[in-house]
């Protein structure tokens, strides 16, 4: 099954997204949260390519890994982390364009259903167009 790596500037945000997305899984999907930059016993805000790379090594499988990222340097660090992989590993890793929370929740569900990396990512990215409050429905 496709596994997920959650990349956020905030360690607590990444863990929270992992917790929520993890509640959607019916299957053998692994989610790793990589948030913040280690500083002593704690984390400060930021993203760390080496920790993202370590997470990718840990969860990589032939089915693939989808990376869900927040903004800015999360994308850069994730891209850098991919460059450390072997070409074989790199070929089945994808950085999703999805919004972090919605994308991770949907990706976890889809991955657990055994869908392919492309299908999981498509479902996650569809959340960008998702209307939380559909205007077309009656309002009661």
């Amino acid at each position: 099954m496709v596994n997920l790596v959650i990349v956020s500037h905030s360690a607590r945000l990444a863990e929270g997204v992992k917790e929520l997305a993890g509640s959607m899984i019916d299957g053998d999907v692994t989610i790793i949260a990589v948030g913040g930059i280690a500083e002593g016993d704690d984390y400060r805000l930021g993203t760390d390519p080496m920790r993202i790379h370590a997470a990718l090594e840990e969860v990589w499988s032939e089915a693939g890994v989808l990376l869900l990222v927040d903004l800015g340097s999360a994308v850069l660090s994730a891209t850098l982390a991919l460059d450390f992989l072997t070409p074989e590993q790199r070929a089945t890793c994808l950085i999703s364009n999805a919004p972090l929370v919605e994308g991770a929740v949907i990706a976890a569900l889809e991955a657990g259903l055994g869908h392919s990396l492309e299908e999981v990512n498509q479902a996650a990215e569809a959340t960008a167009q998702f209307e939380k409050i559909p205007r077309s429905l009656n309002s009661y």
Binding site: D26, I106, L113, T127, L137
Partner: protein
């Protein structure tokens, strides 16, 4: 009846059933997840429509589409299924809306 038998023999049986959302939070995220996971176990094409809101008919195997019918407590949802295992699919999904099983996870 004869028509129905012919349709079923062709694997083209279409059925529907209405369920009422009982939970105070409506058809919430994790309940929708249970619906998707249960629906995905069946070959049948399964749709849901919020009759109370006269929503569009959506794919019950898509959680985003299920969230968009905005089902609240008391709303009536029409589940329809088409395919060889349509009846079983509807029975399994309907059970998720049964108050007695409401807070239990989907059967595996």
């Amino acid at each position: 009846m004869e028509d129905r038998n012919i349709r079923e023999a062709c694997g083209d049986s279409s059925h529907s059933t209405d369920v009422t959302v009982r939970h105070p939070l409506g058809l919430h995220l994790r309940k929708s997840k249970d619906v998707v996971q249960t629906a995905s176990r069946f070959q049948a094409q399964i749709t849901a429509q919020n009759l109370t809101r006269t929503s569009p008919v959506v794919n019950a195997k898509s959680i985003l589409q299920l969230m968009q019918i905005q089902a609240r407590q008391g709303h009536v949802i029409r589940l329809s299924a088409q395919g060889p295992d349509a009846d079983d699919a509807l029975a399994a999904i309907s059970l998720l809306f049964d108050q007695r099983y409401y807070d239990l996870p989907a059967a595996q």
